[in-house]
Symmetry: C2
Subunit: 217 residues, 2 copies
């Protein structure tokens, strides 16, 4: 089991919630589809949401996020990619022990631009991460479209996962208080298809849309 | 209408999707409850998820996020706070025009630690942002708990919102293709209460839990 721990990804706070094995990290990444990318410009951090896809130890990031980031991506730049799945709210009997149940992954590293034949495959990985099976149903991409899209690749080698689950953990003397406590568990993300007004007549909703579920594995 | 535009928050890409008025930004912030905070250490950006609450032009950020960040927060440090609401997936007829419907806010500025009497109020703002009405039902916080919690304050003065909504916008000649297109609209986040196993007998589920809805306004 590979270990992606480094001094920079070690958790200072609640280290028991930290995981550094690849399998845990990959499972969280596979359940999500959008990330927050952090980068630095003139000493100022920026955090931009964008789509991603995982293929093995590579995380491909859709470069639409920011031309600010892209302008610097010719050279390799240090970035941080964070993916967070929020599972529920933890309603303790005190504010201090109130919390959120979540699973997050933080990946550090230098992003590099994907070029050449690998870029087409990377775009497929991103599209199919967001809607599995979608890529093969689409009008093929043109070379111009590939050229106009930027894809960054980040190796998943320095990373940590953080997981908080389960009921509140209150101070012992607080359990007797007449305060409702427990969790508010979010239902899995569900989505309803809405056909485009200009859809060609007679087209059925394809399986990859009709059966869309956010949990992939 | 105040304008939070700066050279640093101007959108380089799809500027038509950008908004800089306070009302739009505040509405997005009020609908969310967790953010991604970006900060820099030794040239490396970090992006950490945590809870927040808005009160007027102040964004209060729960400092559990990272002791790394907190260790530097005595001095004012440049941070970026990003809040993203994902509304749905945009299934175009080509990969190039496939997209995500979302609303995001990016706030830049220097975070300062909240101290003194303002800190208690800031904690209430954060707790009630996550579960409106929760604070008043809780066992009062102790001074020790206040001391052990860090809260950062970021003024909402340099910020941008970005909004993508509606159906796919395909190339004109692609509309005739036999490819299903439209949106997959995510249902609003719903949550089911699960009482703590050690709940005091006979406690009903309070209104602020039973009526929990993520959309606040």
């Amino acid at each position: 089991m590979s270990d992606l721990l480094s001094d920079r990804t070690r958790l200072d706070r609640y280290p028991a919630r930290g995981k550094h094995d690849f399998e845990t990290i990959a499972a969280i990444l596979d359940e999500g589809f959008f990330c927050h990318v952090g980068f630095v410009q003139n000493g100022q951090p920026y955090v931009i949401p964008t789509g991603y896809g995982r293929d093995g130890q590579s995380l491909y990031i859709h470069g639409s996020a920011s031309s600010r980031m892209l302008n610097r991506a010719g050279q390799e730049i240090p970035i941080c990619v964070t993916v967070t799945l929020v599972d529920g709210l933890v309603l303790a009997r005190s504010a201090f022990h109130s919390s959120v149940n979540y699973r997050s992954v933080v990946i550090l590293g230098n992003a590099e631009k994907v070029e050449g034949p690998a870029k087409l495959q990377a775009l497929k990985v991103i599209v199919d991460q967001i809607v599995p099976g979608r890529w093969d149903s689409l009008r093929p991409v043109t070379q111009r479209e590939v050229d106009e899209t930027t894809v960054l690749k980040l190796d998943i080698v320095e990373a940590s996962a953080k997981i908080r689950s389960g009921p509140p953990v209150d101070d012992e003397e607080d359990y007797a208080l007449p305060i409702w406590a427990g969790t508010l568990d979010f239902a899995p993300l569900s989505a309803a298809p809405k056909a485009d007004a200009r859809l060609r007549a007679g087209l059925p909703v394809p399986d990859h849309v009709r059966q869309y579920r956010r949990v992939r594995k």
